[in-house]
């Protein structure tokens, strides 16, 4: 089994084809910088609004907070992220749903046109054509997130005329006309996509890049104004706007969305636990666990220490009283709201011991050292593991008195067919053994004390450690783990996999991350300062 050889610290990647296993082992020169005098932005495939982006854009465009994109269906995923530009496909079913969503939005808006910023007009007094023109001037540039050309304006006025003639149920001819304008705009590529044409990014294109990266929505008035005035040209101008965006609540939602997609912790809603093994588990737990993890991440980044290290090692979490009681964590201050609650730093550490992650990466009646080790190896170290042989009988040993999970799962290391890959996962999974399969701390596995020793082998932080806190300290010391986190952000921020041309962008991001004390908001800011962000190369 050449399984070890297929694990690489840094997956080679060219032209968006990320990894076709088995991957050859490569040695990565770390001394020589990948950066040269030449600008190297990498590819910039056209991006379609995701469901979240669609909803937030509609919210900000016409103050409609009804989440119309809920019915659009799940995006095609690539590399674990739902905004991967290459993965997105538009079926006729999706086209129909864009149509229905636009019709719903136009109907809800028709009685309150003033929800469109800058629109105010009385068709009775000022004339319908004048008012329609004002509507197009107020709505069009904000929906397209750029200035309209005069022929684009004329075309929209043409749609108004057609809608006026065709009429609509329960609406005057004037409103029927405007409804059709809204529907046409919301199904246009100018709205649904982030259209970029040339090597030289326009100020409006930069405004869109900034706003969707940091806010997951359309640019606000200030940003559109800055773009219109030509004030988004230099890296410094862009950084100034990025700082403003990062300070606003929308940035929290974006950071939250990244971590949710990276770790998929909301899968906690899919699990079920055997009452015989976990009697205090109930159907109320998953929603609280999801909330805990989301609140913890937000607190660390925006209210707490703000760093990658704290994300891994923080001796606290966010709990309400019922969840703290479930974990058996003393929480005198917690009520029904989620509050910062201190945890025993010898038992738990930051993100890694979150109930959501522990519960997902476990079986219904016991822990799974394998899944937990795999989580660390793949999501935190960005290693690609070879698949198990197709005919392997994965005989998950039943929990039985007198044996620990470590003993039961030891067969992986004694069976030659399994040991190659399991040697890379299990030693990263056993340290989690003191968090049971439903997220609760324990010191005994049945009637035996737990051995929670582990090892981050095949990495830049070799050596033994104990428990989740020990693993968290190892990962904070690991450049591989830190670069993996940066790489995941890169994929999310730019909606694509990294390529050979992105080596310098990745190197700069990591350099800045280290320089800024591994501050996550600083990393988000750095994502607006790379070649990949500031420049564009027209693809083949």
């Amino acid at each position: 089994m050449a399984l070890l050889a297929s694990v690489t610290a840094f997956a080679p990647s060219c032209d968006g084809d990320i990894a076709t296993p088995p991957l050859p082992a490569i040695s990565v020169p770390t001394i020589q910088s990948a950066c040269t005098a030449e600008v190297s932005p990498g590819p910039a495939p056209i991006r379609r609004l995701t469901r979240q982006e669609y909803d937030r854009t509609i919210r900000d465009l016409v103050k409609d907070d009804s989440h119309p994109a809920a019915e659009l269906g799940a995006e095609e995923e690539g590399l674990g992220f739902s905004n991967n530009a290459q993965a997105l496909v538009t079926s006729s079913a999706l086209v129909e749903k864009y149509m229905l969503a636009a019709e719903g939005i136009s109907t809800r808006l028709s009685t309150e046109l003033t929800r469109v910023t800058g629109y105010s007009c009385d068709p009775g007094a000022q004339g319908e054509d004048v008012c329609a023109g004002r509507f197009v001037d107020a709505f069009g540039p904000r929906a397209y997130r750029r200035a309209l050309t005069s022929s684009e304006r004329d075309a929209l006025m043409g749609v108004f005329g057609q809608g006026r003639v065709l009429g609509a149920t329960d609406a005057s001819p004037f409103i029927a006309g405007l409804q059709l304008v809204i529907q046409a705009v919301l199904q246009s590529p100018d709205f649904l996509y982030r259209v970029e044409m040339n090597e030289q990014l326009t100020d409006f294109e930069i405004a869109n890049r900034l706003s969707y990266l940091l806010w997951g929505t359309m640019p606000d008035e200030a940003l559109l104004t800055a773009a219109g005035a030509g004030h988004l040209k230099t890296a410094a101008e862009i950084e100034r706007e990025a700082k403003r965006l990062l300070a606003a609540p929308n940035a929290r939602a974006t950071a939250g969305e990244f971590h949710r997609q990276w770790l998929d912790y909301d899968r906690v809603h899919n699990v079920s636990k055997a009452a015989s093994a976990f009697p205090s588990w109930s159907s109320a737990i998953p929603a609280m666990m999801e909330r805990e993890t989301a609140a913890f991440i937000e607190h660390v980044i925006f209210e707490g220490e703000g760093t990658w290290d704290a994300l891994l090692t923080a001796p606290y979490s966010m709990m309400n009283e019922p969840l703290a009681a479930y974990y058996g964590v003393p929480a005198s201050n917690a009520g029904s709201a989620f509050q910062k609650v201190a945890v025993d730093p010898t038992q738990r550490a930051g993100l890694l011991s979150q109930g959501s992650l522990m519960t997902i990466n476990a079986h219904s009646n016991q822990t799974s050292p394998v899944h937990r080790g795999k989580l660390i190896r793949e999501s935190f170290l960005c290693d690609v593991l070879a698949p198990p042989p197709k005919d392997v009988e994965i005989n998950v040993p039943d929990p039985k008195p007198g044996s620990t999970a470590r003993e039961r799962f030891a067969q992986h290391s004694s069976n030659a067919a399994c040991s190659g890959c399991h040697a890379l996962m299990d030693p990263l999974g056993f340290p989690f053994e003191k968090i049971d399969g439903a997220g609760v701390y324990r010191s005994m596995d049945g009637d035996k004390p737990i051995d929670d020793s582990g090892e981050v082998n095949a990495s830049d932080v070799p050596g033994a450690f104990h428990g989740v806190p020990g693993l968290a300290r190892k990962l904070t010391a690991s450049a591989q783990a830190r670069r993996c986190y940066v790489k995941q952000w890169f994929r999310f921020a730019y909606g694509r996999g990294e390529t050979a041309q992105d080596a310098c962008s990745l190197e700069r991001l990591d350099e800045q991350f280290v320089k800024n004390g591994r501050d996550i908001r600083a990393l988000m800011l750095s994502l607006t300062q790379t070649d990949a962000f500031l420049h564009r190369k027209v693809g083949p």
Partner: protein, 462 residues
């Protein structure tokens, strides 16, 4: 023949001793391709359209009985319908052993008969693959049967996007290479698409249609203005979007359903939490109700119904199993259960409960179609429901010796109340060809040509 068997024996032998017994059975018992049964009744259904539904359940693990007596088998719930069924055993999904991906990904190219493309989609075990490399058979049939219907096909899921997004394991249907069709997993969204205009007066329907045409004409102009200015890769994305717009625009003129007879507004009942595993069955029932009504209203003639993603890791807390200590909810990850060796009585006992439950759902769908009268017969007589899965068994991940079920009269395309068994290497692409033929699409090959030798022998009378 003998060399084939030898090769297969060798392949199976490598998988472990536990497989020797089923293999010997399949080699020994299948001297003839067909087990004699009472002749099936054929109904005349010339004036009613044919329909086809692909009914997918995850992880294989369905064991077919050796005769048309279903008692005690996974198919027991289908007993009342057995005279309208064809059981098919022993097909080999050979194309799926090739190409990238792990077996649960590879097998989802089920309806294309071609291997997957390379790509960056992460499978259950970390393996990566791309989307399927060709059109799926439902879309070809939809192009023919559904020429004049409002929807070419309905691609419906139950809780089939469990990994968060749409990926190769959450999709059955493809309009072409790298062109997956995501499932509609929300009954509420599906309802809005299907029935929001049903029963509206003709004037309103016409006006709404003209408004939509007007909007889409504008939108098409925008695509045509932008697309030529883009790079080839971006152009391809937008052209594909435009193709879908054209498809929708053309179909706007097809009938939106006339209420009356068996066609009417279906009831949605109380709103369900769509992610709760406890609601799996209730969501499935709702989707089957909507699909049946869409067929009764002739809004479409082609449906794929994907219960879960392949690999399905979800539990079945609404089903109970007694391991000797009393009935308890099945909280296990289904995929892990399937990985257990055949000797694990309780794992396979739970899986049997789950399989029988799926067959009850299939029986429910058949009952819904049976309740719609069409001439002398029923809608079920004019429909083919094809049960299928991505692998044969969870502890081999084999794509070989796969069972299929054909339920319903298929408009008389083939005789029913039969069990067809195919020893040796018979590619399932042949079944796909026969499904095309049975639905009136002429074809002699489908999918990867080297894995197709023509229609499935014995299914359709020549």
């Amino acid at each position: 023949m003998s060399t084939r068997l030898t090769r297969r024996l060798l392949l199976r032998g490598a998988s472990g001793a536990a497989l020797a017994l089923p293999l010997m059975e399949s080699v020994g018992c299948t001297s003839s391709g067909e087990i004699a049964q009472a002749p099936a009744t054929r109904k005349q259904a010339l004036t009613f359209p044919k329909r086809i539904i692909f009914f997918y359940t995850p992880n294989g693990n369905l064991v077919l009985p050796n005769t048309m007596d279903f008692a005690g088998s996974h198919l027991e719930p289908l007993m009342p319908f057995r005279d309208k069924m064809v059981l098919i055993k022993g097909l080999d999904m050979r194309a799926h052993d090739e190409g990238p991906g792990e077996p649960h990904q590879q097998g989802m190219a089920l309806l294309t008969g071609k291997k997957l493309n390379n790509g960056a989609q992460v499978g259950g075990d970390g393996t990566v693959s791309g989307w399927a490399s060709g059109i799926s058979v439902d879309q070809v049939i939809g192009g023919e049967l559904g020429k004049n219907t409002r929807f070419k096909s309905l691609n419906v899921g139950v809780q089939s996007t469990q990994y968060g997004g749409t990926e190769v394991r959450t999709v059955l249907s493809y309009s072409g290479s790298d062109l997956p069709i995501a499932n509609e997993t929300s009954p509420y969204a599906l309802y809005n698409r299907l029935f929001s205009q049903l029963g509206a007066d003709l004037g309103t329907i016409n006006r709404e249609r003209n408004r939509r045409h007007s909007v889409l004409a504008f939108v098409k102009n925008r695509f045509n203005a932008i697309t030529p200015k883009l790079s080839a890769g971006d152009r391809q994305k937008l052209e594909q979007h435009l193709t879908s717009i054209n498809e929708v625009d053309q179909r706007l003129d097809n009938p939106a359903g006339l209420p009356g007879g068996f066609c009417g507004q279906p009831q949605l009942g109380t709103t369900l939490n769509l992610t709760d595993p406890a609601n799996y069955g209730a969501i499935g029932t709702l989707q089957m109700d909507l699909v049946s009504m869409a067929l009764a209203c002739d809004l479409t003639r082609v449906v794929t119904l994907q219960w879960s993603a392949s690999t399905n890791n979800r539990p079945y807390p609404f089903l109970n199993y007694d391991d000797g200590t009393g009935l308890k909810p099945i909280a296990d990850d289904e995929h892990i259960l399937g990985h257990q060796p055949d000797t694990d009585v309780h794992a396979w006992g739970k899986l049997a409960v789950i399989r029988k439950w799926y067959m009850r759902q299939l029986a429910y769908l058949m009952g819904k179609l049976e309740a719609v009268k069409e001439g002398e017969g029923t809608m079920l007589d004019n429909t083919a429901i094809v049960w299928c899965s991505e692998i044969t068994s969870g502890n081999t991940h084999s794509h070989h010796d796969a069972p299929f079920l054909l339920c319903g009269g298929a408009g008389g395309a083939w005789r029913t109340n039969r069990l067809l068994e195919f020893p040796g290497d018979v590619p399932h692409n042949n079944l796909l060809v026969s499904l095309l033929n049975g639905m009136g699409v002429s074809a002699t090959s489908f999918g990867e040509p080297s894995h197709c030798t023509g229609p499935l022998s014995g299914l359709i009378d020549s």
